[in-house]
Amino acid sequence: MTLDDLSDRLNPVFVKETRQLFHNKTVLTTLVLLLVAELLMHLIIALNYSSMHESTLEDLGMISFVIQQVMVGLAILIICIGRAPMIFTQERSAKELDYSRISVISPRSIVIGKVISQVVVMLDIYTIAMPFMFIAYFLRGVSIPQMVGWSMGIIPIYVLFIQFGLMLASFGKKNLLGFIFIFSYVGAQALVPIGLGFGSGHLGGDVVFSIFCYVITFIFASTLLFSLTVAVITSFGNRVYWLRLLGLANLLLLIALNGSLSLCRRKISWYDADDFLAFSSFLILVQFFITVIICLFERDEPGARVMAERPDGRVRRFLRFLLSSGRAGGLAFSWLYLLIWGAAVLGWMLLAPVELFLAGDAVASVFYIIAFYLLFYIQFALILVRSFRKLKPEYAGILVFFLLFVIPFLLASVMCFENGEFGDYWMLLVTTPVCCARSVEIGWLGMLFCLVTLLPLCKYVYASMKRFVFEEKEAK
């Protein structure tokens, strides 16, 4: 078996990307410059080493390590975060991506291939600097846990930036690229201290919990970006399938983690059940927000092809309905999402031991209420879109947001500026989640509004679901 045969097992996009990478002059020049810069830096250190003050010597390793991180970061920025999305945009606008789709490869595989190729290259760039990092370690001032911690902290950030860049590039708009480059450059520099914070010193206590939350956030953000990119580049297919499926998976994962870790909390010293509940709720809300917003922009009914791909069996078809493109399916999915989430929060409140019953559940409740308000706005917008066919979804969304959130909020702000407290004007704010400022109980009105706006859509959702589940497939 030759290497070529082995490469058949690899993602074809990955193979192509790596070939392109090492033909590119910018990439090769950047790597050479990185090596030269490393050598120069260490030459300067070597020349001045004997005359350095003790206090400088004590921190020399850390200084060297930080400078290396900046250099490596720049190389990654140029090659992976800058160049790769640029190439993708060019492929997109030149329709090469479309031509690639006339094949057996799926959009998911294309995205995976692109991400993995850049991640592998990024790791390679890191390994080029590794011998120099080892020297930094021996120069004192930085420990291996610090170096490993920093690297472990910053690499996921780079991965997320790569994914983000590819997601923006998948729109094929060159004007977005400038944004990603500036954002990555500034954002990566700003996030390095966070990565440093995670990599500092020894493990124990809160640091482990922070790392745990960091990993969860990474998984969450990565899957979200992946599914969004797949959704953008998919044409002629079920665009939202992966978005909803991964969203549901994330929800169930977070619920499972909350439950199982709380049960084992006595054995795990670092786990803070309360904080994790609040944190998970926030992530779930973000996921829900994206899913429900996209629902507004979907087509009314699933396309003919989606209908043709329905599985056999009523139950399987119903599940597929929830995951297929179409507003009705999106609404049904959103409600299911809220029900599962609500059941988990309720379960937490009822079953969690007293010592865990602190503030996390209250925070989770607030996030849950916000989700209801979001769904309320989207459902209202959908009612408008269906009633006024010429009204575009984005305009409907903006209109609803303006009417139900912005105006009441501004009015209340003006009133309380005059006198009184913000919470006193809860009646004005009742269509916004801000009414929770008065009391969380008022916030549950959001659920009521949600149910009310679901009523006019019930028939549509039911009809769509019925058609999807019960209608026979067309004969071949």
């Binding site: 290497l3 193979v15 790596t18 070939r19 090492f22 033909h23 050479v32 090596l35 030269v36 490393e38 050598l39 260490h42 030459l43 250190i45 070597a46 080493y49 004997s50 003790e54 010597l57 004590e58 592998v120 290259v121 790791l123 390679d124 390994t127 080029i128 590794m130 011998p131 120099f132 080892f134 020297i135 021996f138 120069l139 004192r140 020894h202 124990g204 206590g205 809160d206 006595r266 054995k267 795990i268 010293s269 309360d274 609040a278 010592e355 602190l358 503030a359 996390g360 925070v363 607030v366 916000i370 913000f422 919470g423 989640p433 801000v434 929770c436 400022a437 008065r438 009391s439 969380v440």
Partner: protein
């Protein structure tokens, strides 16, 4: 919304406080019960009467039927406290937060945390370093003092923010509280020197004094001066940890202004020495050991300890800190140049020729890995793997009191990772220079995690230890010839002594343990007036008089520090145990000195 969420989040804090308040005194963890018994007060810079609780002390009891291991892991400082208790056994456990967290701040920047593990199981707890800032309450007067005592007393200034309020106890001292917390906030407590004080109240007051309180024993005009303290013109001040005990006869200020001023001057002389490190070091406290030592012993080495801190100061050119090894960057640069050439052009061109550029993804990490290993081996072997150390120990050994008070100045460095724990004894006072924190040890001792010794980074620490020793060094003068018997359990490199008349004698060679050795007389040298351990230690270290191989002439210089009837011995092995770790290689000098009665 945020206006609601934030209070909701802080309700957690409230709930925790409620939880804490209900179990603040005692918590049960499996078979172990921990009861909080007190804490140390730390005065802040403004001296406005604010104090913070930076210590937590627990009485730990095993209430089970099997032995249990309690392990308390603090994140800051790096300390693991481990106690194994037999069924029914009890001990005191002390946890201390680094001073820098609390010092000179009006709020706490961070809460030191710790976790409790009993027999390997983690238990949540409600203890926390509840630092609190409370205004000094003022003075507390015993109700046995006459009501007009105040007319004869003068106020000690407590600072601009103090409220000088006076409170009179409602009950006699027999019924005073046995809980030190009840005395927190009183800066001065006035009692009658001759009134009856129960032992347990004495104990609590002693603890309160250690924490910074001032106990004033008033000797009323008609009463006899107490026997336990000398009468130095109607006033005597005795240091107790951070506080003191003043015994004095009250007088009308206006009548005895001069004496008042003199008194104040004396009082100032007892202020704690403040080394210039940017961090205040409190006076040393050793509660359990106090009964073991005399106050004089405390004083003798207290200054030495605080002075020792300066000897490790980074800005001090004569710093005792061991030097870190330096990497041979020259050869390394050649290696890295080779790496750059191999991983870059050579690698790329070789693969391009074969049209296999994508294999760079594999060859780059492989080449990097090889060179990483090369760097590690090269540097590791050039540094070596042993634990290096420089120890200078000064022990003031009072054979009459049978007490040895030692100050160890230790600089350790591990060239590779360290696996040995640093073990300290029951009564050790530990100052780790890098941490700028003081550890007060207790019966549980202290075990520092091996990781505190970071590779190629010196760890400098000072330990002051007071312990009871029964060894005896005998100096014998017979027919004009001087001999001595090495009663220490280790051989001596050098020994010098002065007799009662000031004549100087020195050893002529190594003296084995237990051996009898003749000494040579030396010429008249300057006789020190008193033995000043502090000065001895500081000068010996600063002037680098302690060398690896000291000669006879070098020893002559040391006579300068010896008063009449005293000795000084230099050993290369630890006379008593070494705190921390005994290094594999390096220089160690153990100086033992003290008074000696010639036979």
């Amino acid at each position: 919304m945020m206006g609601r969420v934030l209070p909701v989040c802080f309700s957690r804090v409230l709930a925790m406080l409620l939880l804490v308040s209900s179990v603040v005194l005692a918590e049960k963890f499996g078979d172990i019960t921990m009861v909080r018994v007190g804490g140390e007060l730390l005065p802040t810079i403004d001296q406005g009467g604010y104090f913070c609780n930076v210590n937590m002390r627990f009485r730990v009891t095993n209430t089970g039927v099997k032995s249990a291991t309690l392990r308390v892991v603090m994140r800051e400082p790096d300390a693991i406290r481990q106690v194994r208790l037999e069924p029914g056994a009890s001990t005191l456990l002390n946890l201390q937060a680094p001073m820098t967290e609390f010092h000179a701040s009006y709020y706490y920047r961070s809460q030191p945390t710790f976790s409790i593990w009993v027999n390997g199981v983690n238990y949540p707890h409600g203890f926390h370093f509840a630092g609190y800032r409370e205004h000094v309450k003022g003075f507390l007067f015993s109700n046995s003092l006459p009501g007009d005592t105040l007319k004869y007393l003068f106020y000690w200034k407590l600072g601009k923010n103090a409220t000088d309020k006076s409170y009179t106890a409602s009950d006699s001292m027999e019924n005073w509280s046995r809980n030190v917390y009840d005395y927190m906030g009183y800066s001065v407590i006035w009692i009658d020197a001759n009134e009856y004080v129960p032992d347990d109240v004495k104990k609590v007051l002693r603890q309160w004094m250690f924490d910074g309180g001032r106990l004033v024993r008033c000797v009323m005009p008609e009463d006899k001066w107490p026997d336990d303290v000398p009468d130095k013109g109607g006033v005597n001040v005795e240091r107790f940890g951070k506080g003191d005990m003043v015994t004095f006869r009250p007088f009308a200020r206006k009548q005895r202004e001069k004496e008042f001023d003199e008194f104040m001057n004396k009082a100032r002389a007892y202020e704690t020495y403040q080394p210039e490190l940017g961090v205040d070091l409190p006076a040393i406290v050793n509660r359990q050991g106090y009964d073991l030592l005399s106050a004089k012993m405390q004083t003798e080495t207290e200054l030495a300890l605080t002075n020792a801190v300066t000897l490790f100061d980074k800005s001090n050119k004569k710093s005792l800190a061991i030097e870190s090894p330096k990497v041979s960057l020259g050869p390394l640069m050649l290696v890295m140049l080779l790496f750059a050439v191999l991983v870059g052009p050579v690698n790329y061109l070789w693969l391009r020729k074969r049209h296999k550029e994508p294999l760079l993804l594999l060859t780059i990490p492989l080449i990097s890995l090889v060179f990483c290993l090369m760097v590690v081996f090269f540097v590791s072997f050039s540094f070596g793997f042993k634990l290096e150390g420089e120890i200078s120990a000064f022990t003031y050994f009072d054979q009459n009191e049978k007490v040895a008070s030692s100050v160890f100045l230790c600089s350790l460095m591990a060239n590779s990772s360290n696996r040995k724990e640093l073990v300290f004894g029951e009564t050790d006072h530990l100052v780790i220079m890098e941490k700028c924190s003081l550890f007060v040890l207790d019966k549980a001792g202290m075990v520092l995690d091996p990781s505190i010794l970071k590779p190629r980074t010196p760890l400098n620490y000072i330990v002051r230890r007071c312990e009871q020793r029964n060894e005896r060094i005998r100096c014998i003068l017979k027919d004009g010839k001087a001999e001595f018997v090495n009663g220490l359990p280790v051989p001596m490199e050098h020994f010098i002594a002065r007799d009662a008349e000031g004549k100087a004698f020195k050893s002529t060679g190594k003296i084995a343990e237990g051996a009898r050795h003749q000494m040579d007389a030396c010429g008249n040298t300057d006789v020190a007036k008193v033995m000043e351990p502090n000065k001895l230690m500081t000068e010996l270290c600063e002037k680098k008089l302690l060398k690896a191989n000291m000669t006879s002439m070098d020893m002559d210089l040391l006579f300068h520090y010896l008063p009449k009837g005293s000795f000084l011995a230099i050993c290369s092995k630890p006379c008593f145990s070494t705190p921390g770790i005994l290094p594999d290689k390096g220089r160690a000098n153990y100086v033992v000195f003290g008074p000696v009665t010639w036979e």
